[in-house]
Structure formats: structure tokens, C-alpha cells
Symmetry: C2
Subunit: 438 residues, 2 copies
């Protein structure tokens, strides 16, 4: 076997990057794999748009099914995205005994269990490094490097758009709306940014990571998701005064018989290395029982960084094919009979530290009323600051708490909102502070 | 094959960690590998010291050769260290057709070419993730994840002792000698710290990384090495005023027909993510033509983080054995006939930015004399600061340069030292500043 035929489905941004690497770095790949990685087909419905690549005759075609049905195709690379035709094509490739590389996090979050099981039943590889964290080898780290560790927790900045917006706000105090508009203009945010800014894209990725970390079935629907659209420059500034930055984090923790898996704006101390990850960059910290803490850091999106991860997967599978070692590693890196259903804690079951900001009338007794309600709900205040003073007007009261239960917090905030001296819905931001124990 | 027999050579710090993971996380490893990783032998000359592990009868033995010669042993794990018996045992294991895992960077830097060739000729795996960067998957990233990239450059903080000393000096202005003594007391530095502080350990690791990045023969003896023992709190403070931190970096760059590979104290701007890596932590940045910049960050030493990497290698090899895919990836991740001899640039051939500190008498005309010599040697000054003034005494004159050639710099500094107004050997620290182009 001196040639591996690759069939690429979808020639959008990432697909184009993959084609470029396979063509431009062909000799490098040959020197590493010992066989030619031959791009036999590139299928896309749009054959008109210029991609800056000159394909040989017959390579660039419109019929994706021709690719997955061609007996000569050794590896299928799905870069179409979405949960429709992409899923159908992947299952058909499996059915034809072909391994698949994908970067499709929405599909894996939604239908991963079916895809993982079908791949293993058909004894073919399914690789998806590029689905989380772009170029960072987070999937390979979990499946291979850290395989001797019980993973205790992970925290990740996994969406470049959100991190760009939060970083810019922290830098110059711009509002969410202004930075988003600017990011859209510069191509750092989609025209419809909902998937990104509402945390859904981050949660797709978290579902995949959680499944890999603990050997559990994908459980996207139970992930708590809160986006960044309500984060104001005021809260970013108050966070800074307390020694925190606000990041949209994907967090998972092993809690024994259950796991936490949640996506929300999170205050983290300056000492946390994630606090220094700015702009469109991504990073993930992983804590394991042997490894302690480690971090991966890099471009989580973009044509070439993501394509680099896809090509890493293609080479992995090519090496398996050349060694006749299909399915050398189970898809989730756990034997199929060891994949478990592990419950995800509901958000109202967690205990954590909180930042609250109340908009209250500047009258005597307000603080006492608020803190009374918090106390009645077993929420212990660590520090309070009343920011600015305005006679008869609303002033911000900012509080940090000791460990408190989310259910109690939600109940207390509803009671506080009902006070006639409190004008707006209280702001709540969760804090992950490894330096604060109680 | 439902059992893989592992033979561990050397039960010092890392060896003990490996044994602990194999025993304590046995079921986790079974769930991931699908076969028991059975620690059949642990060989050490010291059978007395308590390791906190209760081995089954007959496991803990003193004869390492019994391990490599036992036909039942499937994987040999060499944790002895050094270049003597470790090399002999590894070659004997290869001769017996057994794959080997090692963390022995000194051995690989000194004899890697022989070991790599012998492993491939015997069609057995040689894995060495733990030899560089402890828990960070830098070797796997280069061999697998980034395989589609031409690596352009790498820079790493690869020695925890040096980074601890430099971080502490930067924090509180302590001298090298004081921090070293304290580090020795706290177990962060060896009784004989020469290998660490003189940069030799870092250079061992750089030799391995350079070889993997470019597919070239190991070339340790041509790496330029300069340690941290001459770095003073004064230079750390001046660096800070210019927006730089001083780190001991391992640097390699692809220069076309040659590579740079050098270890020396380096000023890097605060914007470089390596500048924030403090204490005993390690990190590596990698720049590839597709991936852009990425960074790995974590504990580069210590019992359990390093053992975590060793166990990752053991599992990799176990999976190869179970799939009958020995040598699935060539040792350096390049086909043997594609490994090249690439020359390493001599230090006097490089062009870089420099920081100089001169101790000069505070007399009129001194600056003119110094800058005259620099100008005659084609060294262009970017900024000068005369720090403090002392009539008739020596004052520090600090300079940053534009790009200059090291050969010219060395010549100029010798001429300057010969000036009767200059009292001490000038201090030279090289700068890597991605923000400064000329």
C-alpha cells in the first residue's frame, strides 16, 4: 500500500485548508507516513467560488455520495458541518467500511453516541481532534497521553468569538454590543452569532470532552448553558478590582457518582493561567490524579490551525491502515463495554462561590434587608462593596460569597428582586477560585 | 492477548510513580486498553528503601538483566537514567525484540542516533515522551498531531530548577546564589545543580525536540549552551523596565539549509506567553506553517506528572502490541530513509537583538567611545539608558540593539572591555522579541 486515497466532503474554510496542506505539504507527509496521501476527491455543492487551489481534472466534484461509495477511497474527511447530510454521509462511509475524520462538534454533541457505536460495530476509526480547540491536541491528550489518569476536572476557553468580545471589553471598557458589531465587521464573529455568544458552541465541545474524560455517553442536553450577552463592562471592572477576570468557561468536574458539566461566564483569579488567555485564543486546563495541572493553548479556530488538526487525524488513520491496525484505539479510548451513563448534576445542585451585583435604592437599611435574605438562605457573604453613592438613586451593591448552593441562591435572588428598594434583576456571576476553599 | 507484562528497570522517584499508577489505576487502564497491564518485575539495586508500594512476591528483584531477558516481558520501562547500564539494557531489550519506554534525555541526547536506528532495525518501538517536559505531550504533538506542519520554530522553558530561580529573583530581587541555596533546601534543586543551572539538561531536551521537529539526526554537541549562573537581579530589573522577562530558553529555528539550536538566558516581552510561566512550571511554544503558534504548559518534572507521561507511552505500545502494529510510527515520525543530517548554526553565525550592560567610569566621552566601537562593528543601538550617576565611580550603561550579528558583537565587546574606562566584562543577554522586526 503506497497510496492512501482521501475523499474530502465539503470545501468551505476548513476543507480548503485541509486540501491545501495535503497538496502543498505532500512530500512532508510522504516522508512521515511512507505512503502518498492522495486527495482523490473534493466534493462540494459550490464548484464556482475560487479556493486558490488548482485541483487535477476530476477531483473537484459535486456528488458527495460518489466519494463515500467509491471503493478506492480509504479515508473520508467530513467538513460539511451541520447535522443533516453530514450525518448521513458519515454513516454511509461506516457502512462501506471507511474510516472518517470530522470536525463537526454539533453533530457529535447531538448524535455522538450513535456515531461512536456505529464506528466500533463496523470496526472503522472515527477521528475528531479538530472538533474541539482547533489546533490544540486536547482530544489526543485525553485519548492517549493522559490515559493513566483519572481526570478530576477540566476548564476551557473554547470559543474565540466570546473570548475576543470579553477580552476587548476588559481592555477598553467597550460594551458587549459594540465589540460584537466590531467583531462581525472584522470576521471574528458570524452574522448570526447566537451559537457562539449564547454558549452553545462551547457546550457542544464540552459534551465531547466530558465524554472522553470519563468514558461516558455524550450527554449534551443536560449541560447547563449561559452565554455572555448579559456581561457588562461594569461587572468586568468590578471583577478586576476583586482580582478576577471574566471568561466564558466550559467546566467539567468528576463528583464521584456524577459529573458537573456547565458553560457560563466565570470569574477566575489572575493567578489562573486561563485568565491571561486573550483575543481569539483558546486554552484548556486539565487536572488529573497523576498529571496535576496542565494546559494546552492555541488557536481554537481558523482555516489553517483547524486544518492542521484534521491532517493529524488523517495521518493517524493512514498509519493505522498501513499497519492493518484499524480501531487500534476505541473511539472514546474506553473499551465499548466500559462506556457508562453518568448523570450530569443539575445547575441547582452545585455549590460554588458567587459574585452578585444589586441595583438598590440608596436608603438606610437596604443592605440589611438584602443580607438578611441571603443569610436566611444560608448564603454567607465574604465581602461587600457599595460602589459610588447617589442620593435617592440606584447604586450598585457588589458582593462575593463563601461557598453556597445554587438552589438557595436562585431562591434568595428572587426574594431580593421582590424588595421594593431593588430596581433591577440582580446580576449573578459564578466564581471558580482555586485559592478560596470555603 | 489479555495481559501485557511490563518490566520496570529502576525504582527511583519516577520509577516509583510509574509502579504506583500501574497498580493503583489498574482497572482504569484495563478499561482503556482492554488487557491487564501487569507489572511483572521491578528491578533496582536498592531493595531496602521504602517506596510505599507493596509488590507481590517475586516482583521486586535486583537483577535488571533477568527482566530484559525474560521471554514473558512484553514492554521494558527504563527508569535508571544515565548513559551506562541503561544503554546496555535498552540495546539488549531491542535485541530480544522488546519495545522500550524511557525518560532518559541524557542518553537520548548522547546516543539517540544509535538507539533510534537499532529500534527500527529490530522493528520494536522506542517511546520517550517523559524525556522532555514531564507531563506535557510535546513529543506526541510533534510525532503525531502536528505531522502536517513544517515546524518553523520552537521555544521552551524546559528546566524547572532554572525557572524557579529566575522567577524567584524576578519576584523579590534575591540573588542567584541565595535562591539556589533555598531551592536546594526545598528539594527544587539537586545537591549538584550543574546539569540544570548550566543549561545542559535543557540542551539534552532541545536536542531531542530539534531532531523530532525537522527529522534530523540528534546533534547535541553542536547546541550552544549558556546557563543562568551569571544572571543578576540588576539585569532582571533592567529587563523589566524595558518590558522583558529573562527566562532560560531552549530555542530552535528552521533556517532553510540549517537550523538554529541554542540554550541561553533570553529576554522575552511580557506579551510572549512564556513570560508568564513561573516557578517550577515548564512550557513550550511551537510555530508551524499551518498551526500558527501553540503552547503546551505543565509540570516538567516531579514523580507523578512524569510517571503520567511514561504510562501514556506504555499504553501506546500496549495498543500497538494488541493490534499487532509494532513500529506503527517511526521513532522520529519520519521514515528512516528521510532522516537527514542538518547542520546546526554556530552561535557566531546568528543574528538577533541584544541587551548589553557596561560598567563604565562616569566620565565625559565614555558613551561616545562605546557607541563608536559598536558602530564600527555594524551594531546599531535602539536605546541607551545610563542608570544612576556616580562621580568618578562605575555606573551601569544599558543598551538594546537592533538586529546584529553575534560574531560582530563578540568582537565589539572584547574591544570595549579593553577601554580603560570600562571596568568589568560587559553583560550580554540575547533578546527574542517577536514584536521587533529590525
Amino acid at each position: 500500500m503506497n497510496k492512501i486515497n482521501v475523499g474530502l466532503l465539503g470545501c468551505g474554510t476548513i476543507g480548503t485548508g485541509v486540501a491545501k496542506i495535503l497538496i502543498e505539504n505532500k512530500d512532508l507527509l510522504l516522508s512521515r507516513v511512507g505512503a502518498v496521501l492522495n486527495l482523490k476527491y473534493v466534493a462540494d455543492i459550490d464548484l464556482e467560488t475560487e479556493r486558490g487551489i488548482s485541483f487535477d481534472d476530476g477531483v473537484f466534484i459535486s456528488d458527495a455520495y460518489k466519494v463515500v461509495d467509491d471503493p478506492d477511497i480509504d479515508i473520508v474527511v467530513e467538513m460539511i458541518g451541520g447535522e443533516g447530510i453530514a450525518k448521513d454521509l458519515i454513516l454511509r462511509a461506516f457502512d462501506n467500511g471507511k474510516p472518517v475524520v470530522t470536525a463537526n462538534k454539533a453533530l457529535l454533541a447531538g448524535h455522538g453516541n450513535t456515531l461512536f457505536r456505529t464506528a466500533m460495530e463496523n470496526n472503522v476509526d472515527l477521528a475528531f481532534e479538530a472538533s474541539v480547540g482547533g489546533c490544540m491536541p486536547i482530544i489526543k491528550s485525553l485519548r492517549e497521553s493522559l490515559v493513566g489518569n483519572h481526570i478530576r476536572s477540566m476548564a476551557g476557553i473554547l470559543n474565540g468569538t466570546c473570548n475576543y468580545i470579553l477580552s476587548r471589553s476588559a481592555e477598553d471598557g467597550s460594551s458587549f454590543e459594540d465589540v460584537l458589531a466590531e467583531a462581525q465587521k472584522n470576521g471574528f464573529a458570524e452574522a448570526d452569532p447566537t451559537l457562539d455568544i449564547e454558549g452553545i458552541d462551547t457546550a457542544h465541545k464540552l459534551a465531547i470532552l466530558t465524554s472522553l474524560a470519563y468514558g461516558m455517553e455524550i450527554n449534551f442536553k443536560d449541560i447547563y448553558i449561559e452565554g455572555i450577552s448579559k456581561i457588562t463592562p461594569m461587572d468586568i471592572e468590578f471583577a478586576r478590582e476583586f482580582g478576577y477576570r471574566i471568561k466564558l468557561l466550559a467546566i467539567t468536574k468528576d463528583m464521584g457518582n456524577a459529573v458537573e458539566a456547565r458553560v457560563h461566564p466565570t470569574m477566575i483569579p489572575f493567578t489562573n493561567p486561563l485568565s491571561g488567555v486573550n483575543g481569539v485564543l483558546n486554552a484548556v486546563t486539565i487536572t488529573g490524579d497523576a498529571v496535576g495541572d496542565m494546559m494546552l493553548y492555541g488557536y481554537g479556530a481558523g482555516m489553517m490551525p483547524t486544518a492542521s488538526a484534521v491532517v493529524g487525524d488523517i495521518v493517524d488513520i493512514a498509519r493505522n491502515l498501513l499497519s492493518n491496525a484499524k480501531n487500534r484505539i476505541p473511539v472514546l479510548s474506553y473499551q465499548m463495554d466500559r462506556i457508562r451513563k453518568i448523570p450530569v448534576r443539575r445547575i441547582d445542585e452545585i455549590f460554588i462561590h458567587y459574585y452578585f451585583r444589586f441595583s438598590a435604592l440608596d436608603r438606610p437599611g437596604v443592605l440589611s434587608k438584602i443580607s438578611g435574605i441571603l443569610g436566611d438562605n444560608e448564603i454567607s457573604i465574604k465581602s461587600v462593596q457599595q460602589k459610588g453613592r447617589k442620593t435617592n438613586g440606584a447604586v450598585p451593591i457588589v458582593m462575593l460569597t463563601h461557598l453556597a448552593g445554587e438552589a438557595n441562591v436562585q431562591k434568595a435572588l428572587t426574594e431580593i428582586l421582590n424588595l421594593d428598594v431593588v430596581s433591577d434583576r440582580p446580576v449573578l456571576i459564578r466564581i471558580e477560585d482555586e485559592n478560596q476553599k470555603d
